[in-house]
């Protein structure tokens, strides 16, 4: 089963951190990524650039408007994702729980749709 783990955080929190705290966080991330790569569970991943670079696009009545933001005023923002292929939903939740942002913000575990199907 494929799951997408959505990472939510607020970069403002980490700005006040010491080098040591940041290193510890990177080490946590590194060890989970290494484990997922080694186990053959990692499908893909991406980290998103700071919300400062976000542009929002809307089309209304055929007219496209593009605005800056939303910026960091939101408490939690979508910061990146891990796509994994693992055996059980419990395993997906276990990985999410170990991702450091889960301790301060939240991780969302979303099942990914597939195009296999059984006739009923």
């Amino acid at each position: 089963m494929k799951y997408m783990l959505l990472i939510y955080n607020n970069p403002a929190l980490y700005q006040g951190w010491s080098d040591q705290e940041r290193q510890a966080l990177f080490a946590d991330v590194g060890s989970i990524m290494a484990e997922l790569q080694e186990s053959g569970e990692l499908v893909s991943d991406a980290a998103l650039a700071d919300p400062a670079r976000t542009r929002t696009v809307r089309v209304r009545d055929g007219v496209t408007t593009t605005t800056d933001g939303p910026f960091a005023e939101a408490k939690e923002q979508f910061a990146g994702y891990l796509m994994i292929d693992c055996e059980t939903p419990e395993r997906a939740e276990e990985i999410a729980a170990r991702w450091p942002d889960a301790r301060y913000f939240a991780m969302e575990v979303r099942a990914v749709m597939h195009s296999s199907g059984t006739e009923m």
Binding site: G40, E41, G117, T118, E119
Partner: protein
């Protein structure tokens, strides 16, 4: 084109024989497996271009042996202190056969021994599947990755890790005096999973996945040939044949699913049905009953009805009752409830679903909601059925199933009503 296809088929046939032969001589399953992959790739490129060698198996064994020599020489040059591998292995230059040397027919058991090794209990299921397809099926990592819609690196890592685990577990390539039932059951389960992965693919997934179905059937045929007295090996092959027979009728060209009751039965593969039915009939009269045999028997009863209305549901219900005694899983109970409804009416089927609401394995499963919706529709409770179809549509992770369930719900909501059954 046909030359390439012929080469491909022959390579897949020879893959486990060549690997078995190498491991038998040199040990070191993991290194042999890499060497055989390289030899298969070399053959896939060279044979169609410059013609097939007189002794294809001998050619592959020679090329794979040379790859191992090169690899070990490289290792030796880098780390001459590591002599243990050389002490254990005979000198490859002395034993590697020449290309034209007639290699004795391989013991058939090699395929079985390799399958059991690839399905070792220490390996997680996804690794068993990937390793089986590569080491026994002769598929490349890229082909397996395409079939499973995963990146090549992910599959490569699963194979590497599986081989490392086998090494760590001290798993050996050897023919035990008799196979344990558990080992055979685990191997059959892997073949079943490979088949299902291919069978449930819809047109949107492309043709690569359909290859998994034929690969699973090919391996199941080999296992049945090697274990002719194993009822479950025969049952699994029959189940695959009878299920695959419906392939052309189970989905429309746009990928939407057609339920069993609405399939064009003239599009079913009569030859596969005859072969599967003959096999399961013969097996059930000779071997102790098992779950694959019962599932194949149920598929055979469906297959013998030329119209959905002619289906012998009493016989299907009886088979489900035996199956449930053997494997009392929620999925079996769910399917039995459908048979009960067809024999004793929808209310009797709905009553059988009730205990499943309390079972954490099925409470949030879309199949429970889908079956309930179907039975409510049979009972003429359209509004409740539509709500259940919608609920099932939200729970499934399959796009074609979601579409099917939403269509059923919409049909009931607009009052055009479905004809159930």
């Amino acid at each position: 084109m046909s030359g390439e296809t012929a080469t491909e088929g022959l390579l897949r046939e020879l893959a486990p024989q060549v690997l078995g032969s190498l491991v038998r001589r040199y040990g070191h399953f993991d290194e042999c497996e890499d060497a055989v992959q390289e030899a298969l790739l070399a053959a896939a490129v060279q044979w169609p271009a410059s013609g097939m060698p007189g002794n294809p198996r001998g050619w592959l064994i020679t090329v794979a042996s040379r790859r191992m020599i090169d690899q070990w020489r490289g290792d030796q040059a880098r780390r001459s202190r590591e002599v243990s591998a050389f002490e254990r292995a005979p000198d490859l230059r002395a034993v590697a056969p020449a290309a034209d040397e007639d290699v004795a027919a391989p013991p058939d058991d090699d395929t079985l021994t390799l399958l059991l090794l690839c399905c070792h209990p220490d390996l997680p299921e996804p690794s068993r599947i990937a390793l089986t397809l590569r080491a026994v099926g002769g598929l490349t990592t890229a082909e397996i990755a395409r079939a499973f819609l995963l990146p090549e690196a992910t599959i490569a890592q699963r194979i590497t890790r599986a081989k490392q685990r086998l090494k760590d577990a001290g798993a050996r390539f050897e023919t035990p005096p008799s196979w344990s039932d558990e080992a055979i059951a685990a191997m059959l389960h892997v073949l079943y999973l490979i088949f299902n992965e291919g069978y449930t693919a819809t047109s949107g997934d492309g043709l690569q996945r359909a290859d998994l179905t034929s690969e699973a059937i090919r391996l199941a045929r080999a296992v049945h040939r090697l274990l002719p007295d194993d009822g479950e090996a025969a049952g699994l092959l029959a189940l695959m044949l009878l299920t695959e027979a419906r392939h052309g009728a189970r989905s429309r060209p746009d990928g939407t699913l057609v339920p069993l009751s609405e399939q064009d039965r003239s599009a079913w593969d009569a030859g596969a049905i005859a072969a599967g039915t003959e096999l399961i009939t013969r097996t059930m009269s000779a071997a102790p009953l098992g779950p694959y045999q019962l599932q194949a028997a149920i598929a055979a009863v469906h297959a013998e009805a030329s119209r959905a209305g002619d289906t012998d549901w009493r016989q299907i219900l009886a088979l489900f009752q035996i199956l449930e005694r053997l494997t009392p899983t929620p999925v079996v109970r769910l399917n039995r409830a459908v048979a009960t409804a067809m024999v004793h009416g929808p209310q009797a089927g709905l009553a059988e679903l009730e205990p499943l609401d309390a079972d954490p394995r099925t409470a949030r499963h879309h199949r429970l909601a889908a079956v309930r919706a179907h039975l409510l529709e049979m009972a003429g409770q359209d509004a409740a059925a539509a709500a259940c179809y919608q609920h099932a549509a939200r729970l499934t992770t399959s796009l074609p199933e979601r579409r099917y369930l939403e269509d059923r719900a919409a049909r009931l909501a607009t009052g055009r009503g479905g004809t159930a059954g």
